[in-house]
């Protein structure tokens, strides 16, 4: 899973888009680590636990997971098995890759984006117990992350069509 920072250095729109998404993921990650650590310090050191810290951390974590899945898809970081397909003749291999790709995209768009959005619309009416923030702000990570993952999967394949993985 190494090599996240190792990409084609063309600074077009795509490049800035990737850096922006990565920046959001990094910031969210740092915030939930800081909030959780801060919570331990406040509770133990000062006897004043925060009420909102766990909920906020969890929601940021959900965003890091689903948007991070899109970042990982950008460089084919999701674990896949190639021991069988690498033995196929080139034509068959491309065909199989196409079918698997279409099925994956269909699943991402149907489950993550379409039904994830449906879930979000319902959850917008539901308040979180500690902060009162609609739960939908957290579930929104699923359609957004799913769309990003689908997009980045296509971009990664267009740049490097072979089944090679990694930077």
């Amino acid at each position: 899973m190494a090599g996240a920072g190792n990409r084609p250095q063309r600074r077009g729109l795509g490049w800035w888009f990737d850096r922006g998404v990565e920046g959001i993921v990094i910031a969210a990650f740092l915030i939930f680590v800081a909030v959780t650590f801060g919570q331990v310090v406040l509770r133990y050191g000062f006897g004043r636990p925060l009420t909102w810290s766990e909920e906020v951390s969890r929601y940021l974590f959900v965003w890091v997971v689903f948007v991070g899945a899109g970042v990982a898809a950008r460089y084919k970081g999701h674990i896949a098995l190639d021991f069988l397909v690498t033995r196929f003749p080139a034509g068959l291999r491309r065909g199989v890759a196409l079918v698997m790709g279409v099925l994956s995209l269909a699943m991402l768009l149907l489950v993550f984006v379409w039904y994830g959005w449906a879930l979000t619309q319902v959850s917008m009416r539901q308040e979180s117990p500690a902060t009162g923030v609609p739960v939908g702000y957290a579930t929104l990570a699923i359609p957004v992350g799913g769309l990003l993952t689908a997009l980045n999967t296509v971009r990664a394949v267009r740049e490097r069509p072979s089944s090679e993985v990694g930077p």
């Binding site: 990565e22 990094i26 099925l103 699943m107």
Partner: protein, 428 residues
């Protein structure tokens, strides 16, 4: 019928190169569509419920701690200290690898983080010094399994959160098994070094002055396991929060004490931890849909019924569980198999009268070993990527080392106090 479609679909798609997380998702969704009675909004809802869990945040915390320990020089200091302690024994760096992993395991809760941390240092060093390449890969990925067996442990945190078993008790239950498995790995390495050309002669024994020097260098890093386990057992922080404490402390050590991390390194390191987190958790998320279908199809009753038809003794059933976990471990990663199988297996174990901590520790060990068995073998892949060798080359040696770990586990199954003594001492 549904069950065989579920397993068959997953095997088909993943062996045809679809990423494992997607194959689990596609198969589950196809089955839900086929079934027709379940609204599909259930799928994202199951994913959300699983990921929206504070316990699972142990994963990003401990992965980040591992990254900071690497870039901050903690890993190197632990390896250097281990080298002066055991580097002179026949088998040399193999023992250093096991002992470093035991120290590391006391801070880190993730086998994958340990495999890339210690392996990233020791595999190149071992190959340079003339150790067999495949053996270097095998010992590093096997010893990395100690990470989630010796506390803290991501797997045990998830186990506890799924079943309600005390995470502190599971942690203490893993201490003796972890030491025994480490000892087993060192014994086999010693035996392998006697015959064959796998390993060159070890280094000369370090003087006490050298031991003292590397001990002082490692100093604070060696204190971390005590802080973490002590903090959890005394209730200062929860097991999950311990991960956040570990990452902040290793960042502080790396930046201010050892001065090896600069502010410019931090975004890159955090992004690496974030994308590893996302990869593992996307798998956990789709596995949750899979697990829901298994539960709906009453897989637990089916499994128990089948097992009771094969054997009636409880030890016999325990060994069937061992076999089941080893087989499942070939096809899914550790977190996903915990999420799919533990909600099914644990109630069954309780029904049969097993001690929950005893069963939990055994199950954890076997789930962790799943990281070594292909086709889905993250630990083996991490180690062979570091060694620049084809991943299956090291498999025969991995299987030898794994056999020893399974034998130690069998001993643990027959002698429960090895696991339960410490937790019972502490938790009355």
């Amino acid at each position: 019928m549904t069950l065989s479609l579920l397993v068959g679909g997953f095997l088909l798609f993943s062996s045809l190169g679809m990423p494992v997380a997607y194959s689990i998702g596609v198969t589950s969704v196809l089955l839900l569509l086929l079934d027709g009675t379940v609204p599909l909004v259930l799928a994202p809802q199951r994913m959300f419920v699983v990921v929206n869990s504070f316990s699972l945040m142990a994963i990003p915390f401990f992965l980040l701690a591992g990254e900071f320990m690497n870039t901050g020089g903690i890993t190197r200091r632990l390896v250097n200290f281990s080298d002066t302690l055991v580097g002179h024994i026949r088998g040399g760096l193999a023992h250093v690898c096991v002992v470093s992993n035991m120290f590391m395991a006391g801070i880190s809760g993730s086998s994958a983080a340990d495999a890339s941390a210690i392996g990233g240092m020791l595999i190149p060093a071992m190959i340079r010094k003339g150790y067999n390449r495949n053996f270097s890969v095998a010992i590093n990925c096997s010893a990395a399994c100690l990470g989630p067996i010796i506390p803290p442990s991501i797997i045990m945190i998830i186990y506890g959160s799924l079943t309600g078993v005390s995470i502190g008790a599971l942690f203490l239950g893993g201490v003796v098994p972890g030491i025994l498995i480490g000892g087993g790995l060192m014994a086999v390495s010693y035996a392998l070094s006697l015959k064959g050309q796998l390993m060159p002669a070890p280094r000369v024994q370090a003087t006490w002055a050298e031991v003292w020097l590397t001990f002082r260098e490692a100093g604070l890093a060696l204190l971390l396991p005590v802080i973490i386990l002590g903090g959890i057992l005394s209730g200062v922080f929860t097991a999950t929060e311990a991960g956040a404490v570990a990452s902040v402390v290793s960042l502080v050590l790396g930046v201010f004490v050892y001065r090896e991390i600069g502010p410019r390194d931090i975004p890159r390191v955090v992004l690496r931890a974030a994308s590893s987190t996302a990869v593992v958790l996307l798998l956990a998320a789709t596995a949750a849909i899979f697990g829901w279908i298994l539960a709906k199809e009453r897989f637990g009753d089916l499994a128990l019924g089948t097992m009771q038809r094969i054997t009636t003794s409880t030890i016999g059933i325990m060994f069937l569980v061992v076999i089941l976990l080893l087989i499942v471990g070939c096809f899914v990663d550790t977190i996903a198999s915990t999420i799919i199988l533990i909600p099914v297996l644990h109630p069954m174990a309780v029904k049969l009268g097993f001690d929950p901590v005893y069963f939990g520790v055994i199950a954890t060990i076997l789930i962790v070993l799943g990281g070594l068995t292909p086709p889905v073998a993250p630990l083996l892949y991490i180690a062979s990527t570091i060694a620049h060798s084809p991943s299956l080359d090291a498999l025969p040696l991995v299987l030898i080392l794994m056999t020893v770990m399974v034998i130690v586990t069998a001993v643990l199954i027959f002698v429960p106090p090895l696991i339960t003594f410490l937790p019972h001492l502490f938790f009355k």
